[in-house]
Symmetry: C2
Subunit: 255 residues, 2 copies
């Protein structure tokens, strides 16, 4: 039975701790968080919580699930050496973890909100280890969490993080604008839900660039202008124009 | 048994004709299209096709599913009067249909590609009629196609069309960029699929504005800068900045 200890109390930590506590082939050994209150809803037995980071004892894996900016500092505070310590960041190099331990990355590529349960089984886990011989252990543990485990290099992970901003953050912002437009016009946002689902579904079988439709794509300037007039707000008009232009000038990019 | 005749051969016409031919309480009476070849894959009996628009005979409903720009002209060419004629556009007023007939709108709010089957049952149908007494018939017929039928005014429909551009066209463009980033870095796009699904799923239970996460939202300028450096292409950098700014300055808009 592998012992897993987790540091942090944010969205990612919250979901990781919950899932770890439910594993059958590994156990949630200890949790350290500055803000333990925010983990209360998980109803963990109090003995898993460390009062101080120096109370973390021997485990097979330590997961640092804190803000990117705090990873280096937290890893320095660990009082042990030569154990497997990973962070969960999409952007930070594993070299930001203090070199006294064996370093790695355990990046769950999903959007986490405390309010919403996530089916961890389908969360892609992107793994990287400093030493090749640690990969097998990290992979064995990762497969207890998810069926979607990938070896991902630092450069690949950074590219995925940028891609995820487009596919998730920016997409969600498009939804937010659409929701406001509906709400201002007394149209239930539910009317758009099937379209949103189909848009996400379509790209499983088609390249997104081939699935592109709409006034921008077909250079229907009359409709584009109607929409810009409709929007009124100048910042949003400029956003509409910029994305329209990007669709019209788009060719496959080199990154 | 209601008789439905359809004019057009584009993506919307294609899916409407297919679905109409499968209805049990109504029948696909006739089809007129300038480009009949593009409907070949539907394998309809040849007698449903009109050689000329003047061969359209009596039906309960005529659906004009052609380009926005062609609606007025096609409706003028109809040689009959006082029958129910609707178009399928999200932006065009029903008054663009020639006034000799009883006019309406039958706007299926979904993204259609010929290559991909659509489950029509969940396609929202936004209805409008010039005369209140025609609404019941149009609604009865619409409910044969879909369980999601809404009375939607012209202003509401126009707002929905703008909202749909954000929720579908612009979102799909975000996917296209994400897919390219993955492909350039030899990462399977499938890694992002669960994130894309969860993003679309989340807004069923949360307001999109509350579901917003990521570097833009948390004003993580360091990560934003990393991403901009990563992107390199100046047009795409400007798009990234513009959407980031829009997320940061966003407050609920008035339309």
């Amino acid at each position: 039975m592998k012992k897993i200890s987790i540091i942090g109390s944010g969205n990612v930590a919250h979901h990781l701790i919950k899932k770890t506590s439910e594993l059958t082939d590994a156990k949630l050994h200890q949790v350290f968080a500055r803000n333990i209150n925010s983990l209360k809803s998980l109803q963990l037995p109090s003995y898993v919580f460390c009062e101080h980071i120096s109370n973390l004892d021997v485990a097979d894996l330590y997961i640092i699930a804190v803000n990117d900016a705090a990873i280096a500092e937290v890893s320095e505070q660990l009082h042990f050496e030569n154990r497997l310590v990973v962070h969960t960041s999409g952007t930070v190099s594993l070299r930001e973890i203090d070199a006294k331990n064996r370093r790695g990355v355990f990046y769950p590529l999903q959007t986490f909100s405390k309010e919403k349960t996530v089916n961890f089984e389908h969360v892609p886990l992107c793994l990287e280890t400093e030493h090749a011989e640690d990969y097998a252990l990290l992979e064995t543990i990762a497969k207890m969490y998810s069926t979607a485990v990938y070896p991902i290099s630092e450069k690949q992970r950074q590219s995925l993080h940028v891609a995820a901003v487009f596919a998730n953050n920016f997409t969600n912002h498009m939804y937010a604008i659409a929701e406001d437009i509906c709400s201002e016009n007394q149209v239930p946002f539910a009317v758009l839900q099937p379209l949103i689902e189909e848009t996400a579904e379509k790209i499983k079988t088609m390249h997104a660039v081939d699935a592109q439709t709409g006034p921008a794509k077909r250079k229907d300037e009359k409709t584009v202008q109607k929409h810009i007039d409709f929007i009124q707000d100048t910042a949003l008009q400029s956003l509409y124009k910029n994305i329209t232009q990007s669709i019209q000038n788009y060719h496959v990019k080199k990154f």
